[in-house]
Structures are given as structure tokens and as C-alpha cells.
Symmetry: C2
Subunit: 392 residues, 2 copies
DNA sequence: CTGAAAGCGCTAACAC
DNA sequence: GTGTTAGCGCTTTCAG
């Protein structure tokens, strides 16, 4: 990588001043055609690409929006630095229908044991679980990216993992015009610090004071509506509630919605969830086993998210308990797997992509008008009635 | 947003020079404890966050890696700028178990028709199709982000859509230390220009000359192995091939692998795929209908990706044709839906997350040693034999 | 329409 | 240890 060409190089080559080069990009019509052409030619020949840093420094804006998530990967395996078969291209030239299986490149610059190129495996049905939250974030991310693009910006995504989390978010803050932060992924202290430099939008979790702009979904209303359906339409009152981890900002709201639904119908809700698990399918399975081992089954189990609900269904299947005949199971989130399971899972579907889009919209508005009062968006949810609750 | 504090502000407040402030962050142990403490205090009080731009300008490195994808969203709906219910937080203060359904906030700063907070819907089984490629990219993205984090960097993601695509990628290039580009998402011309400024890693597609570093999966070998299985183990020779869109760099390799497998067994492969579709499930369904309407069924149909294969299975189900009894169907990619379908889909599973990780690893290596010969990584794939090809 | 020059906020020698 | 002082590459008045 030779030193990248700068405005100066272009200016010299085009025999103009750097100011003119700059103008060609920022206000093309203030430059004479002939001059512009010369500059553009130079740009082309030199392969000039403007430095975002320099531009950002001068402009005080970057055109970048940040999205910061908590890292919920399996931190254990994380460091498993899979090292890949890597070789110099120069050494391996055979291409197209030519000699295949010339496996090892002549000059293995850094080769671990040569990996097989393709393995045949008889795949037994298995469950993919791990990616629970990721799937949620994927959609949010997709929505954010789209909306960012619509506003002519790009997204800087960062995930906070462990102790470096605070550092990451601060670093991001230094390079973006505004930042979207998933509730709980950064400390209040860090947030406060960031907020002095750039606009922050908090996503999910309970509404904030008027510190930050806020975007979330109607967790409480959704769970309330679902519970109401069980109560009113199915006439079920014998319900237990499986909660997720306490740290989750959403968990509390769902639980609240559940209780409210009961209370509004004159039923005294329990003070505590029947049980608390960890939002994973495995956790749901475990909870399911406990439930099924008891003397008496409740008529329904309402779970704080889909993964756990699917786990409960797994457990029921294994125990030979019919869902929804003997036990009604419901989830929350609306992940794809819930629509593909047998029986399909009744759930509350969150508009995750919309959430991502809304967050960016709010952020962009804030950028455009720093003075306006802090905003809050609460997106509606849909209760999806499917076979895990609806006796055929 | 008051003007963000700078090193100068911090320096003044801590009664030191800006160099010292800088040192506190870059080489903390060269600063006396007492001084450091003063600086840190000032940082805290002021809410100082270093400007990434300024730092990047001075350092000539940003700690940001770019990931550039082609945008394959349904461009039609794209502009559907869903505007969300948005109101000033100041106006809506009720919280917690208090009065719910106070629906409209008192001062609706910008309210479209108030949206319902939760709707109950009887959900009929339907197919989600659209997100085919996205799911692929999600995993790649996840892998990249993880690996970026492991290397202490953060990811800038950009999607090229339509005509602004070239602009986007150039803008990104100006703000990152290196860029990963999905094959086909940028023009060769743009790539060449970028390459003069920063290292580029091309992902997927055929190996490149020694221009750029390259990362991909063994498309050809995978399809070859799968076809070989049909040929050798199942004794099936009456096979048609459903290809995807020609623009896809991977499509060609898979087709090549298919042909090679035939040829290696003394069978003359067809010159052209039986048919070409668009990688979507709907496209697969259409192709399936054509196939099933013919006088005679082949014993097997090999599809260039999972989505189309699932579409073919859909068509077969509708036509009452048994898979795999009457027709064997295979896919490629290993998307989740293929493992959840009935019958489950035999496919070639790509290590998508690993692909993302590998790309970042390669990029980081390149950053560390700009001089080394260009690298190429080819990741192995797995053929997953499932019920769509294996008669019970 | 174009050029000169002053920053933007930070790092990195180089002095002290 | 800490301060001084050049830049880093670009935008943006302000003249001309």
C-alpha cells in the first residue's frame, strides 16, 4: 500500500489548488467544467479516495451512526480462534476445470493441517439453539442498516463483551454522529458521558426519563393481550409463568403485562413468576421437565420468550404430554423457529426490524434538530395465535 | 449538545498540556500517578470522549474494518418509510403499574394515527421467503463482528443499493483500515481504486488473480461430493440441475462441481443447466411445477441453493409427488429452514460464520504485514444427507 | 471561478 | 515526566 494520494497530490496533478479539489466533491457546480474534468481525471489516475477522518475532523460530522449491542455469544468458545487453511495465491494458480485436488498449494505460507474440502455427513435431526438473541439482533440490525442507508449514512456496529465493553462503546462514540444503544449494554455512567458528545437513542427496556430518546415495543401490552386471550377466549385460568433472566429489561415488562391481565379480571396474580430461567431453549427444556414431573399439570404455561417455550414443548414431547391438549404453551418474540415447530408456537411477535428502523429515524431526527424535546417511540406488537394454544 | 470537550479543555482543567492528556490514554504508565488522576478527573467532569477522526488523522489508522455487501432487499418496498408513532417523552410520564391505556400522550409532537399497542391475530401457516440472502449475510456478519472484536476493532457495515452503491463503498473506504467486499457487490473499477488506499479482501466468488486477498468456500467440491453421493451411493444418474442467477459468482462453481462429478464417472454432463431460476423459493416452486408437469420425472433434481430446493419440495407436495420416493431433491447452503422442512433437505452446508471470521483474519494479517503475498482461504463444506434424498 | 490560509482534535517526535 | 510544536488531510471563509 503506497501512501494513499491526498488532495494535495490531486491538486498538483490537476494543476489547481486543494480548495478546488475539495469543491469538486462538495459543490461541483461552482467549478468550471474544464477544471472539474482535469480534477476528476487526476482523481482517477491517482486512485484518490477522500479521508473520512480528515473530512470528519473539518466538518464535525461523519455520516456514521453507531449501533451498540451487548455480546451474548457463548463467551466460552469465543476465543476458539479457528485458524483457517490459508495460502499464498501466487502459489496456487490452477483454475477452472483444470486439475482439481491439487490440494496442498506449492508454497503453503501458513498451513495448518490441510482441511478436507468437503465432508459427507449423515445429519441427524438436531436443534440449533445458541443463536437466540442473535436472531433478534440480526433483524434489528437489518432494519437499522436499511434506514441508515435511506438517510445516506452507514452503520458502525459494535458489540460489548466483557470488560472491554465500556471501552468499545466510548471508541465508537468518538467516530459517529449518533449512537443507538440496546438497553443494558452499557453502564449508565458511560451513557451519561457519551450523551455529552453525541445524541443517544436507547433501544428496548423501560422508558427513560427525558435523558435520552427511546425506542421500544409494547412488551407489557403484548403479554397482557396474550394472557387475556387465554383467560377470556379459552377460559383458562390455571396458568404458570416462566420468566427469563432478571437483568433483561424486557422481562419485567412482560411479567407486568401478565399480572395486569389477571388482575384486570379479578384474579390475584402471583407475586413471583412460577420459575425463572435464562431465555434459552435448554433452559426451557429444564423448566419443562420440572413442570411435567409435578403431580399436577397447570392448564397453560406462559413463557417470557420463544426459545424457552420451544424448550418446554420439547420436554412435553419427550414426556408424551400433548400440546395444547394437556398443556398450552406460549412464547414471546416471534422468532422464525416458532412458526416452524410442531405444534407451531403461539407467541407475541415483535416488530424487530421496525424497531431498528425506528431507532435510526429517531436518531436522525435528533441530529437534524438537537433542540427538540426527547422522543419516545413504542411499537405495537401482534399476538400470533397458533397451534400450541389453540386446540384443533 | 454543547460543543464536545477536547483535549484542550481537559488539559486546561487539569492544568497540564494536551500532550499529557494524550499520554494518559496512549501510554498511561509514562505519566505520574498524581497527574494522571488529575487528568482523569477532568475527563470525567467534562465528559470527554476522544475524537476518532482526529485520532485517526494523526495516527493514520482507525481501528475500523469495513464490510460491504450487495443490497438484495426487495428494492420495491424499500422506500416504505414506515413512520412510527413518536411523541415527546416529557409529555408522557405515567409509568409502571399506573394508568395504562392512557394511549395518546398529551402532546403528540408528531403523531400519525395512534397505533394499537397489541393486536391479536390468528396466524395461518405461511412461508417467509424474502430473507434468503439476508440470512446468509447475517451469519457472515456475525462471524466478522466477532473476529473484529477479537482483534480489538469494530465493524463498519455498508450495503450497496442501486446507483449509490459505488459512492457508499468509496465513503466506507475513506474511514476504515481495510475492507471486506462480497464478490459482485462493487465494480472492478471501484475495487481497483480502493485497493490503492487500503487492503481489500474479496469474499466468495472465484479466486482472484493476485490482486486481492480472497476468502471463499469450496462450492465446487461441495457440489461435487453431493453429486457423487447421488451417483455412487444411491445409484441415481437421472438427474437434472436447477441453477441460480448467472450473476452469482458461486453459482458457476456449483454447476462446475456438478458437471465434474458426472464427468469423473464417465458420464457426459449436459452443457447447460436444465433450467435457471433466481435463488428464491418462489422461483423454485415455479421450476418445480414445470418439472412435475412433464411426462416423465427425473429421479433427482439438484438445486443450486436451498431456497429453490425448498420451493421444488413445495411444488412436489402440492402435486402429490413423494420426496424422496419419486423425486430426490437437494439444495446448497445449509440454511436453517432446510433442517426444519418436511422432509428435511439434503444440502451442502457452508460455514458462513467461519467465512466472516476468516475474512477478518485475513484482513488483519494483511494489515499487520502489507508486504506478504496475497492470500487465499478456501473453507471446507459439509454435505448434509437428510430425508429429501435418503429413502427411509 | 479559484487560491491562500486558518483551523478541526489528536499524536508523536523532540526538547526541557 | 511533561511541554512544545509540527503535522495528519480536508473544509471553509475571505480575498482576489
Amino acid at each position: 500500500m503506497a501512501k494513499p494520494p491526498t488532495v494535495y497530490d490531486v491538486a498538483t496533478r490537476a494543476e489547481v489548488s486543494i480548495a478546488t479539489v475539495s469543491r469538486v466533491f462538495s459543490s461541483p457546480d461552482t467549478v468550471r467544467e474544464a477544471t472539474k474534468a482535469r480534477v476528476l481525471a487526476a482523481v482517477h489516475e491517482l486512485g484518490y479516495v477522500a479521508s473520512g477522518n480528515a473530512r470528519g475532523l473539518a466538518t464535525r460530522r461523519t455520516g456514521v451512526l453507531g449501533l451498540f449491542f451487548p455480546g451474548l455469544d457463548a463467551m466460552d468458545e469465543l476465543r476458539g480462534r479457528t485458524d483457517f487453511l490459508m495460502h499464498d495465491v501466487a502459489a496456487a494458480t490452477d483454475r477452472d476445470d483444470g486439475g482439481r485436488d491439487t490440494d496442498a498449494p506449492s508454497e503453503p505460507d501458513s498451513v495448518s493441517t490441510p482441511l478436507p474440502r468437503a465432508t459427507v455427513i449423515r445429519d441427524i435431526p438436531a436443534r440449533t439453539d445458541t443463536r437466540a438473541l442473535n436472531l433478534y439482533l440480526d433483524e434489528v440490525l437489518r432494519g437499522s442498516e436499511l434506514e441508515a442507508w435511506l438517510s445516506g449514512r452507514v452503520l458502525l456496529v459494535g458489540v460489548g463483551r466483557g470488560v472491554t465493553s465500556g471501552q468499545t462503546v466510548l471508541e465508537m462514540a468518538g467516530r459517529v454522529d449518533g449512537l443507538i444503544v440496546l438497553a443494558g449494554s452499557a453502564t449508565e455512567e458511560d451513557l451519561a458521558q457519551l450523551a455529552r458528545r453525541i445524541p443517544i437513542v436507547v433501544m428496548a427496556g423501560p422508558p427513560r426519563g427525558d435523558d435520552f430518546d427511546h425506542v421500544s415495543v409494547s412488551n407489557e401490552e403484548g403479554m397482557g393481550a396474550l394472557t387475556g386471550h387465554l383467560l377470556d377466549d379459552l377460559g383458562v385460568t390455571d396458568i404458570v409463568y416462566l420468566a427469563g433472566s432478571v437483568e433483561s429489561p424486557d422481562d419485567h415488562e412482560r411479567w407486568t403485562g401478565f399480572r395486569r391481565a389477571l388482575r384486570e379480571r379479578g384474579i390475584t396474580p402471583p407475586d413471583e413468576p412460577w420459575r425463572r430461567s435464562d431465555f434459552t431453549r435448554e433452559g426451557g427444556r429444564a423448566a419443562g421437565r420440572v413442570l411435567l414431573a409435578a403431580d399436577r399439570l397447570p392448564r397453560a404455561i406462559v413463557c417470557a420468550n420463544d426459545q424457552m417455550a420451544l424448550g418446554v414443548i420439547d420436554a412435553a414431547r419427550i414426556a408424551g404430554v400433548d400440546v395444547p391438549g394437556e398443556l398450552i404453551v406460549t412464547g414471546f418474540d416471534g422468532i422464525d423457529a416458532g412458526g416452524l415447530s410442531t405444534p407451531r408456537l403461539t407467541t407475541v411477535s415483535q416488530p424487530m426490524e421496525a424497531l431498528g428502523r425506528a431507532a435510526v429515524q429517531v436518531l436522525v431526527r435528533r441530529l437534524e434538530d438537537p433542540e427538540r424535546a426527547s422522543m419516545s417511540v413504542r411499537l405495537p406488537v401482534e399476538v400470533l395465535l397458533r397451534e400450541s394454544s389453540e386446540p384443533a
